[in-house]
Structure formats: structure tokens, C-alpha cells
Amino acid sequence: MAGNKGRGRAAYTFNIEAVGFSKGEKLPDVVLKPPPLFPDTDYKPVPLKTGEGEEYMLALKQELRETMKRMPYFIETPEERQDIERYSKRYMKVYKEEWIPDWRRLPREMMPRNKCKKAGPKPKKAKDAGKGTSLTNTADVLKKIEELEKRDDGEKSDEENEDKEGSKEKSKEGDDDDDDDAAEQEEYDEEEQEEENDYINSYFEDGDDFGADSDDNMDEATY
């Protein structure tokens, strides 16, 4: 660098004629801006291929796009509630068929919890207290709490006139014992796991509403 400036030599260390500039010719300006968004092209693009196959694939592509939107896999973002319900909206609504994932193929944590567990701080405390004792003991306590909760819930939903929810809850109560036990076992494991991985737990300390959230959606075993 010093050599270039100090001795007043040409700014280039190589023969610029070799790159196509004659001596003394003005070099092009340095480009300081990004290239244009829609640059001019020197050559027009060739037309697209046409034919029966191409047309069929085009139709397939557009059809697939529409079909995908009607599949149960398409998860819509909850729209902001509008003040005025648009009449046309009612007709635009698409009815999707239900999809129940094969839970056997999925990690257990994928299962939505369909039992009222983490309803409030009170049952949690009870669970913690039961931890020290044997497994069966804990399960018993949990069962009791659960029953209490369900009763609670049933009443509540009656109050709120959520008939549908209430009846669903009740029908679930009628489930056979085996099922309950399995679910409880699961719940227990989950607690255990969470304790092991304290750091993961801490991620959710601020998300108080998370628990409530998942409770709201509790009945959505199907996506």
C-alpha cells in the first residue's frame, strides 16, 4: 500500500491492457448500489413448454393447492374476531373431515392431555406432597383429585351453559378404569420428567397462561 502511494506509480500492479483497457482510458465507475430489482434482460425467455402433459400437471397443481386447504392438515391461524359477522363468511366456511393421528406412531408428548390435570395450584401441591410415597399411593391421590376436579368442572360448565362441554366431560367419566389408570401413569411420568429437566421447566415459568390455554383446548383430541 505504502509503495503505491509513496512512489507515485500507477495504481495497478498489473498491465491494465491485459484486461482490455488501453492506456489512459477512463475506467468504469465503481458500482455502489445493488443491482436493479427487475433488470433488463438481453434475451427474451423462450416460451414455456406446452402439451397435454404440461396442461394436466398445471391443472393438478392448482387443484392440489385448493384441496390442501380443505384437508384437516391445514391449520388455520385463529382469525381476529370481527365486530360484524360477515354474512358471506358463513358460506365461505369449509368443513374439514376429522383427522385423528395414530398416536402409537408419535412420541407420547404429542398426545393432547384430555384429562383435567393442571387446573390450579392446589392439585399440584397435592401431587408434590404425594411424591415421596410409593407410586400406587400417588396414583390414588391423583385419582381422587381427578374425580373431584371432574365434579367441579361439570358444575362449572353447567353454570356457564356450556352444555356440550359438560356432556362430553360426563361421557368421559364413564370410561373404563383401565384407561384412567393408563392416563394417570402417563401423567405421573411426565411430572417426573419435568423434574429431571429443570431447565426446560423454567422456560415456562413466565408463560402462566400456557396451562390455561391447553386446558381450553383439552377436548380437541382430533386435529
Binding site: T13, K61, T77, P107, R108, Y203
Partner: protein, 538 residues
């Protein structure tokens, strides 16, 4: 070390991530897109971290992951201490672009029934055979005239043929062994696949016929009572092939595309007969050669002769002449591997793919920079390394123009420059500058441009649709009204009145929009064809 390198997320370029994001959003909505792209960017992560990092509720994340796993776009693995980590299959996401081609290919090979089978598998990610058969039979019945129905057995047959030719395959499944060991069950099932079961169709006796979809009251009233029990398969009946899921085997499709590309390249270069011979050779090795093998299995000329399609009347002598001719061709699509059995021949798959990629590069240079640039490009390709002065002389293009073209191709990365210093000080005046074409890196560069192009095409299409959203909704509404009026038997004059709710300029605008969207969609499909060629070459 290797394992760490493989798990690094940055193997995807920004263009690819952008494209993945657009595809996920179009197919599964914004929530799935958010989770999917997050996983692509970060590599594998556990559930709770995903929820935290994306600021999405745990419930939503679970739903999104279920969708992604169902469609084979995300896989999971149990790590130490029972933490399950989820990992996106990035390149699989990009394959969604090719769905129309997979479906169309099956249609050409296995007619409408095959088409619908593959379509259902792609739409649902994975399905049991009984579910596929039922869905397809119902759909086919709906397109048939009244009174006719599609038999389950017929759909089953096509399904079996697709499995025999490996176009559909079993998904890894949960092992059936009852684990009697105590202790909590594992946090995630380990899915396994027995290789010899991959294409094994479960023995099912699927009896039944497709049903037409009707509104429930019509169903009850309109159908004769006697016929009903035959049609309805009881829902509570245990599913015969429960737990055995099938998916479309995309690799097998790619192999088919590759073979077709090779056959048509041979047809273009030589003639129909030689392409038919190459097609026969490829068909003979379809199942015996793995899709990534550099060569097909050696085939003797006698074997090839026996396998030529019936009615293809060429004598053994002519076949041998053709084979010699093919083996002598400088492109080396066909190679001779021995003399036994009347001469053993192989198809040099890697070489063929390289030639196809090079031809794609040449044609892109020609269409972007003109035929004189293409001449320089081919010259450098042929001579491997050339100095600037030599290029000017050999290409017989005036020095100034030739330089201009060389620099242009250099700056667009179609060419590269190799420095060879004569002295250790690397002084420019004592250095050779050799122009060369690195086909692999040029092909890779072009591939990323293709990804970017498709992302641009999708964005443009979404923009066009959004701009005309109100108009589109209006036309949909009008169409719905007309359809319902037609169903109730309205008069022609009434229909026309409704039709006129869309004014002439609006109609014109709709036409333009449709034309533009069609063009953009067709471009997406065709750019993906180039992507396929460039990806196969690596």
C-alpha cells in the same frame, strides 16, 4: 465430528429456506410454516424449546409437529434422558413442488386408479392400504355414471402393482412385540422397517364398492334398502391392516424420471431405435440396480435381445450394430464391460446425468447470454483450461467482445478463473490466468438460482391473487349462486341476470389474472424439472 457436521443446520441456503417456507405455508398454513422453518433453521430441537423459541403455544406446536410428521417432513429421535428431538427433512419439503409430476407420471403408467392412489398418499402423507382403497374407490365411483360403482378389488389390484414396481412402499412401523418389561414405556416409539417387507402388500380381502357422497337425508331415502348393507362397511369393525402405513416412494419416481431423461436424450442424439434399446436396458435393471448406483448391472446382448418389446422387429445383428454404435458414442451413455454373452453392456448412469447437467448449463448460457457466449462456454468446456488470448483466437471472436463475454460469465459464476503463478510472489504480470468451467459448482449455482426463481414465482403468484382478492371472491360467489340455481332448475334468463353481475371489465380482469397465474404455475413446474436434473447430478 461427522455427526456434528451433519447436524449443523446451515446446510440450507437462504433461497432454499425461503422456498420451504412458502411451500409449507401454502400447504399447511402459517402455524405449521412457522414451526417447520424454525426447525429447518435450527436443526433438531425438543418440543418445549420449539414452543419457547417460536413463541407459540405448546398445543399449536404439537398440532404442527403432528402434521409435519404425518407428511414425513419431520422425524423425531429420542436423546439421552428421554428427551425427544424433532428434525426437519428439508429436502423432502422441497419435493412438494414435484407432487403434480409424481401424480401425472402414475397416471401415464397406471391410469386413473393409480393416479388417485398416489394422489391420496401425497395428500395424506401416509395411509393404510385399506384407507387408500376406500378413498380411491369412492372418488372413482363419484366420477362414474349413475348406477355404476368402482370395486374395491380393482383398486387393490392397482395398489399391488404399484407396490410390486416399488412406486409405493411401507413406512417404518411400530414393532408389534408386546413389551412385558416393567417400567414406563419409552417417550417415543422406535419405528423400524424390515427391508424385505418394504413392498409386501398385506393379505387383505377388501370387499366392497365405492360410495357416492350425498347429503345424509338423500342417502337414506334415495338408496334402495336392500342394497345398503352391501355398501356400508361397519365402522366399528377392526381395520384389517391396522398400523401398516404406506407412502409414495419418491426415490423410485426419481429413478423413473432419470431413465426417461436418458432415453429421450438418446433419442435426440441418435434415433428412435437406439433409444428403445436403452429403454429396454434401463427397464431390465429397474429393480436390480439401486437408484444411486453409477452403472446398471452388466447386460449381455443376448439378454437385451430377448427383452426387447414384442413387435420391435430388429434382428440380433442390427441390435449388435446399434450397441457397438452406442458404446462408441463420445457421450458414453452406454459402455461395454466385457465380451462374454455376445458382449456385455452397461449404462453409465453417472456419466449420463453429468451430460444432462452440462447440456442444461450450455442451454442456460445460450439463452441468457446469446449463442456467441455459448460458443466460448463450450470451447472452454472442451479444452478444460484456456488463457484469455487463446479463447479470443479459438472462438474467432474479436478480442474486446470476447473479453466482455468472458468477464460476464465469470461474474455470473458460470466460469471460474484458475491462477498459476510462475514465480512464488504471485505477481500478476508473471501469472497465468486460466479460464475453466467447473461443472459441479456451476450446476450448484444454477440450482440455487432455480430455488430462488421458484420462490419469486410463488411470491408473484400470491401477490397477483391478493391484489384481486375481492374480485375473485365475487366471482366465486356468483358461480356458487349460479350452480345452486341450476340445481333447482332456474330459467335461462334468470341465470343470465346473475351472470351479468360481473361486468365486462371485471371479466377481462379475471381473464388476465387467470392467464398470469397459469403462466406462473406452469413455470414453477418446469423450473422444478431443471431442479431435478441438476440435483440428480452431484
Amino acid at each position: 465430528m461427522d455427526e456434528i457436521a451433519l447436524r449443523l443446520p446451515s446446510t440450507m441456503t437462504q433461497a432454499e429456506i425461503k422456498l420451504c417456507s412458502l411451500l409449507l405455508q401454502e400447504h399447511f398454513g402459517e402455524i405449521v410454516e412457522k414451526i417447520g422453518v424454525h426447525l429447518i433453521r435450527t436443526g433438531s430441537q425438543p418440543l418445549r424449546v420449539i414452543a419457547h423459541d417460536t413463541g407459540t403455544s405448546l398445543d399449536q406446536v404439537k398440532k404442527a409437529l403432528c402434521v409435519l410428521i404425518q407428511h414425513n417432513l419431520v422425524s423425531y429421535q429420542v436423546h439421552k434422558r428421554g428427551v425427544v428431538e424433532y428434525e426437519a427433512q428439508c429436502s423432502r419439503v422441497l419435493r412438494m413442488l414435484r407432487y403434480p409430476r409424481y401424480i401425472y407420471t402414475t397416471k401415464t403408467l397406471y391410469s386413473d386408479t393409480g393416479e388417485l392412489i398416489v394422489e391420496e398418499l401425497l395428500l395424506n402423507g401416509k395411509l393404510t392400504m385399506s384407507a387408500v382403497v376406500k378413498k380411491v374407490a369412492d372418488r372413482l365411483t363419484e366420477t362414474m355414471e349413475d348406477g355404476k360403482t368402482m370395486d374395491y378389488a380393482e383398486v387393490s389390484n392397482t395398489f399391488v402393482r404399484l407396490a410390486d414396481t416399488h412406486f409405493v412402499q411401507r413406512c417404518p412401523s411400530v414393532p408389534t412385540t408386546e413389551n412385558s418389561d416393567p417400567g414406563p414405556p419409552p417417550p417415543a416409539p422406535t419405528l423400524v422397517i424390515n427391508e424385505k417387507d418394504m413392498y409386501l402388500v398385506p393379505k387383505l380381502s377388501l370387499i366392497g364398492k365405492g360410495k357416492r357422497r350425498r347429503s345424509s337425508d338423500e342417502d337414506a331415502a334415495g338408496e334402495p334398502k336392500a342394497k345398503r348393507p352391501k355398501h356400508t362397511t361397519d365402522n366399528k369393525e377392526p381395520i384389517p391392516d391396522d398400523g401398516i402405513y404406506w407412502q409414495a416412494n419418491l426415490d423410485r419416481f426419481h429413478q423413473h424420471f432419470r431413465d426417461q431423461a436418458i432415453v429421450s436424450a438418446v433419442a435426440n442424439r441418435m434415433d428412435q431405435t437406439s433409444s428403445e434399446i436403452v429403454r429396454t436396458m434401463l427397464r431390465m435393471s429397474e429393480i436390480t440396480t439401486s437408484s444411486s448406483a453409477p452403472f446398471t448391472q452388466p447386460l449381455s446382448s443376448n439378454e437385451i435381445f430377448r427383452s426387447l418389446p414384442v413387435g420391435y422387429n430388429i434382428s440380433k445383428q442390427v441390435l449388435d450394430q446399434y450397441l457397438t454404435l452406442l458404446a462408441d458414442d463420445p457421450l458414453e451413455f452406454v459402455g461395454k464391460s466385457g465380451d462374454s454373452g455376445g458382449g456385455m453392456y452397461v449404462i453409465n448412469l453417472h456419466k449420463a446425468l453429468a451430460s444432462l447437467a452440462t447440456a442444461t448449463l450450455e442451454s442456460v448460457v445460450q439463452e441468457r447470454f446469446g449463442s456467441r457466449c455459448a460458443r466460448i462456454f463450450r470451447l472452454v468446456l472442451q479444452k478444460k483450461h484456456l488463457e484469455q488470448k487463446q479463447v479470443e483466437d479459438f472462438a474467432m471472436i474479436p478480442a474486446k467482445e470476447a473479453k466482455d463475454m468472458l468477464y460476464k460469465m465469470l461474474s455470473e459464476n458460470f466460469m471460474s478463473l484458475q491462477e498459476i503463478p510462475k514465480t512464488p510472489d504471485h505477481a500478476p504480470s508473471r501469472t497465468f490466468y486460466l479460464y475453466t468451467v467447473n461443472i459441479l459448482s456451476a450446476a450448484r449455482m444454477l440450482l440455487h438460482r432455480c430455488y430462488k426463481s421458484i420462490a419469486n414465482l410463488i411470491e408473484r403468484r400470491q401477490f397477483e391473487t391478493k391484489e384481486n382478492k375481492r374480485l375473485l371472491e365475487k366471482s366465486q360467489r356468483v358461480e356458487a349462486i349460479i350452480a345452486s340455481m341450476q340445481a333447482t332448475g332456474a330459467e335461462e334468463a334468470q341465470l343470465q341476470e346473475i351472470e351479468e353481475m360481473i361486468t365486462a371489465p371485471e371479466r377481462q380482469q379475471l381473464e388476465t389474472l387467470k392467464r398470469n397465474v397459469n403462466k406462473l404455475d406452469a413455470s414453477e413446474i418446469q423450473v422444478d424439472e431443471t431442479i431435478f436434473l441438476l440435483e440428480s447430478y452431484h
